[in-house]
């Protein structure tokens, strides 16, 4: 009953904002709509389709053709009630996240029970209780439903709403170890925004761990790539032209549109010296894709869910066109690690930073663009602070995770030969 009320409340907030006059203001915010996910651009693409103009001749549209076909169907069948689709999709995402978190908690309980006798004696009160297992998934659902970032994302009609939905579906598939439910949504996500390609790694590790066979893992990787190729081929078949690749993956990777967003790319590449542009585009893309992938995969191979979350978080910080929808999605996953919050050191700093930048961002944007009394540096500073806050958050969580691991194994007493000792990384 309580959960129904929560979902209804979440739906109410969204529907109210969608039907209010604030919808257009929210949809035009650069923090919410990027060139990659704005619904305005999808509408333009659909309009061009209606006029029988190939929508990828220009560079307004960056959604793959197959997705555009789906949007066309949705728009044509919903008409004025389009927001219902977005709201339902968001509610469903929240439910999927709840399911995924519940399964993850079950997994934690199993591991805990299995390894109980290996833990240090004084670590018993570090163990998770039944209450913890029950409440974390609910926190996840609530965090998704009432996180202002995800609410605005939904009200702004971004295609990230669908992206988040498929990533949530993938996470459910991941935690259950279900081949089809993990690979298909992942392939859809990859073809939409490319960066989820990193999530193949947690999928592979999960299947190896769960099914205890490397073949299963390999099959999952092959299946994902296969689906991805199939989607791309179907997209090609729709018009018989390959040039949409340049407008989708090419656009994501080469960053030609320098419209401001909450990421690091825009001002960096506005101000870049022309002869270094390629070097830095390569290094920034390597930074977000493969630089952290391998070390994190090795370090957190035992916990693919944490690995997936940290990869999602890092892409939300460093990808070329990030939006608040991505950040909100990652933040709503964090309650899965509620038990680590005791170890988090910079919680206050990070939350203050989130709060201040969220208020300050639109303010300095207004000062810069509308009243002309500030300049680009102000907004850039705010995005830097926002990115730093996210970085502190994810590194803090990962740190806490390793600390808890240590404490479970060696106990909580930090003393060597009766002298106070400190935990350090060496």
């Amino acid at each position: 009953m309580a959960s129904l009320v929560i979902y209804l409340l979440g739906a109410f907030v969204r529907v109210w904002l969608c039907t209010s006059e604030y919808r257009n203001v929210i949809a035009d915010r650069i923090e919410i709509s990027t060139p990659l996910n704005s619904w305005k651009r999808v509408t333009e693409g659909l309009h061009l389709l209606d006029l029988k103009i190939y929508p990828y001749t220009g560079d307004t549209l960056h959604e793959p053709p197959l997705h555009l076909l789906a949007y066309n169907f949705v728009v044509k069948s919903c008409g004025d009630y389009l927001y219902v689709i977005f709201v339902c999709c968001d509610l469903f995402t929240s439910y999927l996240l709840y399911t995924c978190a519940r399964k993850y908690m079950e997994h934690l309980r199993e591991t805990q029970n299995r390894n109980k006798d290996k833990y240090a004696k004084d670590a018993m009160n570090l163990l998770l209780t039944e209450k913890d297992f029950a409440i974390s998934p609910q926190y996840v659902a609530v965090a998704y439903l009432f996180n202002p970032y995800t609410v605005f994302n939904c009200v702004g009609f971004t295609t990230t709403v669908f992206g988040n939905f498929f990533i949530a579906a993938f996470l459910v598939g991941l935690s259950y170890g279900n081949l089809l439910f993990a690979t298909l949504p992942l392939a859809i996500c990859i073809s939409q925004s490319f960066y989820p390609v990193l999530l193949i790694s947690p999928l592979f590790l999960q299947l190896i761990m769960k099914k205890d066979s490397k073949i299963k893992g390999a099959i999952a990787v092959m299946l994902t790539v296969g689906f991805w190729i199939a989607i791309t081929y179907l997209s090609y078949n729709l018009y018989g032209r390959w040039d949409f690749i340049e407008n989708t993956y090419g656009f994501i990777l080469t960053v030609p549109d320098l419209h401001p967003n909450i990421g690091l790319f825009w001002y960096f590449f506005i101000e870049m010296f022309e002869h270094f542009r390629h070097l830095f585009i390569y290094s920034f893309q390597i930074n977000v894709t493969i630089l952290y992938l391998v070390p994190l995969s090795i370090r957190f191979r035992k916990d693919p869910m944490l690995l997936a979350t940290s990869l999602l978080s890092l892409t939300a910080i460093f990808k070329s066109y990030p939006c608040l929808g991505d950040v909100g999605f990652v933040i709503s996953l964090y309650p899965c690690w509620r038990h680590l919050f005791n170890y988090v050191q910079q919680g206050f700093l990070v939350s203050c930073c989130f709060f201040v930048t969220t208020i300050l961002g639109p303010t300095v944007w207004y000062l810069w663009i509308y009243s002309g009394s500030a300049n680009a540096n102000f907004y850039f500073g705010v995005t830097l602070a926002f990115a730093t806050a996210q970085i502190f958050l994810i590194t803090d969580i990962l740190f806490s995770y390793t600390k808890r691991e240590f404490s479970l194994k060696y106990g909580r007493i930090r003393k060597i030969n009766a002298k106070v000792a400190q935990l350090t990384l060496e």
Binding site: G58, F268, I270, R299, I369, N375, I391
Partner: protein, 570 residues
């Protein structure tokens, strides 16, 4: 001495044999406008009876050879270039003989056998840029379009099925026109500016005007009515609009307008004439002195116009006008079709372009609106709204090619039927683009230009029309030439300036450093977490100063030890 004279004589006669089939006419058309302005139009026309396909332009007589070579090299079928300063006010001035937008405009039809049109276009623009000292070299594929309806060939074409992929149109609204363009332009004339009407073009006077436009038009034309053989024609125009306020008096004269009288005709010209439009004489009477050689009446499209005609001989001629009454305020009746264009919205995020078309006719009017919107003003076609007197109307057809960042402009061509006595607005929204810091011009806050839109229509009446019919080469040709299908006019709207948001140009190093620092903030801890192990280390309670002291002590000890060792070995 005698032999050289003979050789020159022979050579002359040879060139006369080769190029004798050409003619040159010069005309000056003066029209007092209903407002306090006077419109003067210089019309220089050179016709050469030769075939464009086979002519090599190795020897020319009256035809400008420099232009001929460019035409040959770049496989040009038809070429129209205009350089304009100021804006033609259609609403009060009526229609000019040739319409031109502020800045530079170039449109060219290439021959059907051209292989790489884009390459030819780029090279042609560069050559013309050198020929008349204008910045036409900025024309490339990123600001050129191939309009389907608006720019049909003016001259004779071999093939009736036209393929607009051989047409290129581009406008540079930022281009500034001045004497450096006029001097090379005058060199293309047979008498240059030494003799004839062109000697009136003194830069000290003609830049003191409200509107000033130079143009060159090249096209093949029919040699006779059957049109089996073609000739080539190059027309050079100067359009000037003087303001009585700037002149200081209403009683204008040739001397007052151009600083000197006409000192005889160009000896190479077939005819040299001055026409004064007398249509305002009925409402604001004036006297001409000297008396014109004759009065010519022209009936076109239901309107009769009276012209005073002067034949320019070798004698000096200065026409002057004295108004009989004091100035009256006249109610101006605007022409059938005119247009405006402006930007909407505030801030540097979202904006809109609005084009307003006014139809003052009692009947429907079919028009074609062409917009060449630069790539830095990305428009959304789904926001396109066409409203006539507040009601949404459907266009007859829309041609649209979306632009691409740094590669291609947005091309919109809309065919519309304007309702009778209506104001139609065409609006579309756009987004401001953020450019790389090197892509901004030196005065970045000045803004970026959007070229004027071109509205083409066939008008049923010749009210306010002075333009030439398609077959005519000279003003004299246009007299008494009525046309059943209507009179073609083009209206160019204002150019617009949009200010794009600018970055801080002094910041590149700082931005690179700060952004990389944030990346490093992630890299450091992640590197530590993934590569290092947690261990317990005894905590030292010493103060920092003590620790430093200890370090220093160790260092000194080490140094001493090293010294002692060295001393031992020695």
């Amino acid at each position: 001495m005698q032999t050289t004279a003979f050789v020159i004589l022979v050579l002359n006669s040879v060139s006369l044999i080769n190029c004798g089939s050409d003619s040159f006419t010069e005309e000056l058309f003066i029209k007092p406008l209903y407002t306090d302005h006077i419109y003067t139009h210089f019309h220089f026309s050179t016709i050469w009876d030769t075939d464009l396909q086979t002519e090599q332009f190795k020897h020319t007589h009256l035809f400008p050879r420099a232009l001929g070579e460019i035409i040959k090299r770049h496989n040009v079928q038809e070429l129209h270039l205009s350089l304009t300063a100021g804006l033609w006010r259609y609403e009060t001035w009526g229609y000019p003989i040739t319409s031109a937008p502020p800045g530079a405009e170039l449109w060219v039809w290439f021959k059907q056998d051209t292989e790489n049109v884009d390459k030819n276009w780029k090279e042609l623009a560069n050559s013309l840029s050198g020929l008349i000292c204008a910045s036409l070299n900025f024309i490339d594929t990123s600001n050129s379009i191939s309009p389907e309806y608006s720019f049909r060939p003016n001259g004779a074409v071999a093939d009736q099925t036209l393929n607009s992929s051989y047409l290129r149109y581009s406008a540079l609204p930022r281009e500034i026109v001045c004497t450096e363009n006029l001097t090379p332009w005058k060199k293309l004339l047979p008498c240059e500016s030494k003799k004839g009407l062109a000697s009136l073009l003194n830069s000290g006077y003609i830049y003191n005007t409200r509107y000033h436009s130079l143009s060159i038009h090249f096209r093949p034309i029919c040699r006779d009515l059957e049109c089996d053989v073609t000739s080539i024609e190059v027309n050079q125009y100067v359009d000037l609009v003087y303001d009585y306020l700037i002149l200081g008096v209403r009683n204008w004269s040739i001397r007052r307008l151009f600083g000197q009288g006409i000192l005889g005709s160009c000896p190479l010209a077939k005819s040299s004439t001055v026409y004064v439009d007398m249509s305002t004489n009925s409402s604001i009477p004036f006297d001409l002195s000297p008396e014109p050689d004759e009065f010519v009446h022209s009936i076109r499209g239901g309107y009769t116009t009276k012209f005073a005609k002067y034949r320019v001989t070798n004698e000096t001629l200065s026409i002057s006008v004295s108004h009989l009454e004091n100035s009256k305020v006249l109610i101006n009746s605007p022409p059938v079709l005119h247009a405006n264009q402006y930007l909407t919205g505030y801030g540097q995020e979202l904006g809109g372009i609005v084009t307003k078309l006014y139809n003052n006719h009692w009947n429907n009017l079919d028009v074609v609106v062409l917009q060449n919107i630069p790539w830095y003003v990305p428009i959304y076609l789904h926001t396109l709204k066409i409203q006539a007197n507040g009601e949404t109307i459907k266009p007859i057809s829309i041609r649209y090619i979306p632009g691409k960042l740094r590669k291609r402009p947005y091309y919109v061509e809309i065919a519309l039927r304007l309702p009778p006595r209506s104001t139609t607005s065409i609006s579309a929204d756009f987004e401001h683009v953020f450019l790389k810091w090197t892509e901004y011009p030196p005065d970045a806050s000045h803004g970026f230009y959007i070229s004027s839109s071109v509205i083409s229509a066939m008008l049923p009446l010749t009210k306010n029309i002075t333009g030439l019919p398609q077959g005519a080469s000279t003003i004299a040709d246009s007299f008494n030439r009525s046309s059943g299908s209507g009179y073609f006019v083009q209206v160019h709207t204002e150019t617009m300036v949009v200010t794009l948001p600018t970055p801080d140009f002094s910041m590149p190093y700082n931005v690179i450093c700060l952004a990389c620092t944030v990346v490093a903030l992630a890299f450091g801890p992640l590197h530590n977490i993934t590569t290092k192990r947690l261990i317990l280390k005894p905590e030292s309670n010493e103060r920092v100063v003590d620790r430093l002291k200890q370090r220093l002590f160790l260092l000194v000890n080490k140094f001493k030890l090293g010294r002692a060792e060295r001393a031992e070995t020695e």
